[in-house]
């Protein structure tokens, strides 16, 4: 049962190794996108040591971790799903004795695992130059909370990505949805600035959404900036969202694959 998904995962890993130049450029893209923000906020800090309870070194460390955590947890599965639905190749997976959503999840993890490894290597090189500006906490048991937080974050991001991808069954152009999703995650998961900088009312609302789990919560867990009760609350919120999103994915796949019309069927 699990073996076929593991095979998909390992095949994808080999694929990324074969196209390693492409993977490297993709990773560089992700790093370039976020590279500007530490400089922006360091300029804003000027001579100050702390803004909104965030020390300068902590903020720099936050942005240092953003590309790795983003590549490890976030999901771009909608890109290939939209493509497969548009060109009809999704029909191949309807006929195969493999669950399409599970297959796409295994593939996504394969891609992201190799991309994460490359990002860690690049970050390792950058660390040699940047370590005087970074502030990591000393190793402690609380860091183990990163494992469930990352697992829930991965599921949430994948399910959202799947929903955006499957909507292509019902519309010819899903580009606008990608923009909306990009905008939402960029603001609400803490890409441009930690959510801690937002007004307290907005922070409170966002704590009930799954977005912080995609970026800020995993980074804050690694930086020891969240208490155990805050982490548990975020996990609880994430699990409820996973249930709701899974139902939505099932409904979209069930109805979408029924109305899907492809030449040759």
């Amino acid at each position: 049962m699990i073996k076929k998904y593991f095979t998909t995962f390992s095949t994808t890993l080999s694929e990324t190794y074969t196209y390693r130049a492409q993977t490297l450029v993709w990773v560089l893209n992700s790093i370039a996108w976020v590279a500007v923000f530490p400089f922006v906020w360091l300029t804003v800090y000027g001579q100050r040591e702390s803004i909104a309870g965030f020390e300068r070194a902590a903020l720099f460390t936050y942005f240092f971790l953003v590309p790795t955590i983003d590549i490890f947890i976030n999901s771009w599965v909608y890109e290939s799903m939209q493509h497969m639905i548009k060109d009809g190749s999704v029909v191949n997976y309807v006929q195969k004795p493999i669950n399409y959503i599970g297959y796409m999840f295994s593939r996504a993890r394969g891609w992201q695992t190799s991309q994460t490894v490359i990002t860690i290597l690049i970050s390792g090189v950058l660390y040699l130059f940047l370590h005087p500006y970074l502030a990591f906490p000393a190793p402690n048991w609380q860091l183990l909370w990163f494992i469930p937080v990352a697992a829930v974050g991965i599921m949430v991001a994948f399910l959202f990505g799947t929903i955006i991808g499957l909507i292509s069954f019902f519309t010819t152009e899903g580009g606008w949805l990608k923009h909306f999703w990009w905008m939402l995650t960029t603001i609400a998961s803490g890409y441009l600035i930690p959510i801690q900088f937002f007004p307290s009312g907005l922070q409170h609302i966002l704590s009930f959404t799954p977005f912080p789990l995609i970026l800020q919560t995993p980074i804050f867990t690694l930086l020891n900036r969240m208490s155990v009760s805050e982490i548990v609350f975020q996990l609880f919120v994430g699990l409820i969202w996973i249930i709701g999103l899974s139902v939505a994915v099932y409904a979209l796949w069930h109805n979408g694959s029924k109305r899907f019309d492809s030449i040759g069927i």
Partner: protein, 261 residues
Amino acid sequence: MKKYTRIWIQLLKNSFSSTLSNRIDSASYFFGKLIRFGFFWLLIISIFNFTETFAGYSTYQVLFFFLTFNLIDILGQIFFRGIYLFSSDVRKGNFDFTLTKPVPALFLTMSRLIDLLDIIFILPIVGLLVYAGIQLPVTITIGAILVYLFLVLLATVLSFTFHVIIAAATIWSFENENFIWLYREAMTLGRLPPDIFPVLLQYILTYGIPIIVMIAYPVNALFGLLSVGDMLFAGVITLLFIAVSLVLWKIALRSYSSASS
């Protein structure tokens, strides 16, 4: 020139038909673009909640950097969007058809895809540039505006040369999506004043990948902060990039093996 304009207008008409036939999708896509733009605008405004000036610039000066970045980025999208189809053309052998047409292959490669939404999107950008220009805390002379427009033109030419280099790389690697996105992500480093970057990075972004020349030079010229030497340098580096990109394109074309060969 007349022939190229005629072809470009015909391609624009095709784009117009395509946009009209997908009205809801086009409108929602355009809306998404506006949101993305508005969101970054808000971010800049938010930055000034924490500081009086940003790298020595006022709110509207920083917004002017952001708007100029958008203007140059969209000009590149309007005229050179065809690059997005190029890797598919090379892989499937459709580039053979481009080569056989009585129009320079480079022109057709760059302009064969035009998005009407880019042309529509440039209108609010120009409107906001005028608005931000009026709010600037410095006096803007007609001469400064003319130099600004000339440097924006040079930036568009530099953008063209980057697209040509990516097209050449596509012929060698059969893949360009990541290259074009790498270029566009690198361009985003110009959204804000370059003074926020370390000196070494500023050198790289001036002499290596001249993003500062493309975006900060026109803006600083408008603010009266650009020397004549810098303006001459902008002209020299543009000529250099034109020469290098065209040589690379010719070399790449020689190594292109068509689908039928």
